[in-house]
Symmetry: C2
Subunit: 236 residues, 2 copies
Amino acid sequence: MRNIIIASTSTLHDGSYLEYLLPTLQSHFENAKTILFIPYARPGGISHEDYTQKVRQAFSPLGISVTGIHEYDNPAEAITNAEALFTGGGNTFVLVTQLYKNNCMEALEITVKNGTPYLGTSAGSNICGLSMQTTNDMPIVYPPSFKTLGFVPFNINPHYLDPIAGSTHMGETRETRILEFHAYNNIPVVGLREGSWLEVKGNHVTLKGSLPARIFTAQHLPEEIAPESDLSTLGR
Amino acid sequence: MRNIIIASTSTLHDGSYLEYLLPTLQSHFENAKTILFIPYARPGGISHEDYTQKVRQAFSPLGISVTGIHEYDNPAEAITNAEALFTGGGNTFVLVTQLYKNNCMEALEITVKNGTPYLGTSAGSNICGLSMQTTNDMPIVYPPSFKTLGFVPFNINPHYLDPIAGSTHMGETRETRILEFHAYNNIPVVGLREGSWLEVKGNHVTLKGSLPARIFTAQHLPEEIAPESDLSTLGR
């Protein structure tokens, strides 16, 4: 049974790394003594080792130890053998390129489908959708494909941002970008605001956190949904 | 001799389409009676025909007629035969995919190098750089390559946006995204604010408009340059 948390962000403006999620992670990872961390997205170009160290410190209060996938000779095997999995944020193009290069995609799909608990934040959440095509990141490397894990039958837009009132900037708003996505694709998109996450238990998908989320489906007006809304039928 | 305008945006907040550029375009296109417009980037999913109509209206005060590249059976040949060229904004992934699909890249490279005047705005400016990897757009379609025209030996970031003072948003700033680009690439990047453009005459590149631009080079701190700065040596 799938057991997944898909979070918009790792960090809130007024908190430390993963702080707002810690109570949730305590129960999410209650049967795990160790987590395999996937640092491939490298926010700001940070090294795999430094990024893993940051995650190690964040999980230390929960009594959970953390290893980085880069420490293993066979990354796919490390995924298969993991007690629990966490993919951190950063650049989604870099993350997806590295996952394909290291043959991790299939191992992740199978392992998480079989019930190994998974946490994704930001780029690590983007890859839970059918494709990475609603990422906000710059295409700084060229991945072999935009197809991702499809843990849920829709796409994620993390760090969802409402239009800024009174802005004179003429670049596209986030909503406009997602509407353009729907000129070429039929996949529904969940705009997850910072502080929101999706809880996936088997086939049940629930919006968590205190904020509404914005749902975009092709040929329909966007829709706001309240916390605790059931998204189990979206994309099915 | 190359004769190119690379503009951050087509439209300013307080103006109509291309309005702020019209005096510049009058001299840029002084020897052209017709412009071939490339509407492939389709902002907001607008049709090629509607987008071309909008451009036709904007150039009508200059006495220049406009045809859309989609009206021709052989797009590459249309480019070669054009008196002048304009590629409009929209989604860079869509634009680049369509340019490759229709064998337009080589024709554009040769034609513009030979002196046919070119105007790019937004996505149409992104493709003037060595790669499209500093676009702000969502990857809504998968292009065969991120390599672009290289009219200038650096990359463009159009609609360059300064960090917003007091913002609590945790998604990356534009500057952070460009710094991440430089963790994987050595190509310099010009952050062009809305209202700025680059004028390329042969090998001379000059910043135009009333705003400074922000220059990012790998392993250096970003640098602000004033209007009328000479960028001819950047990337050489």
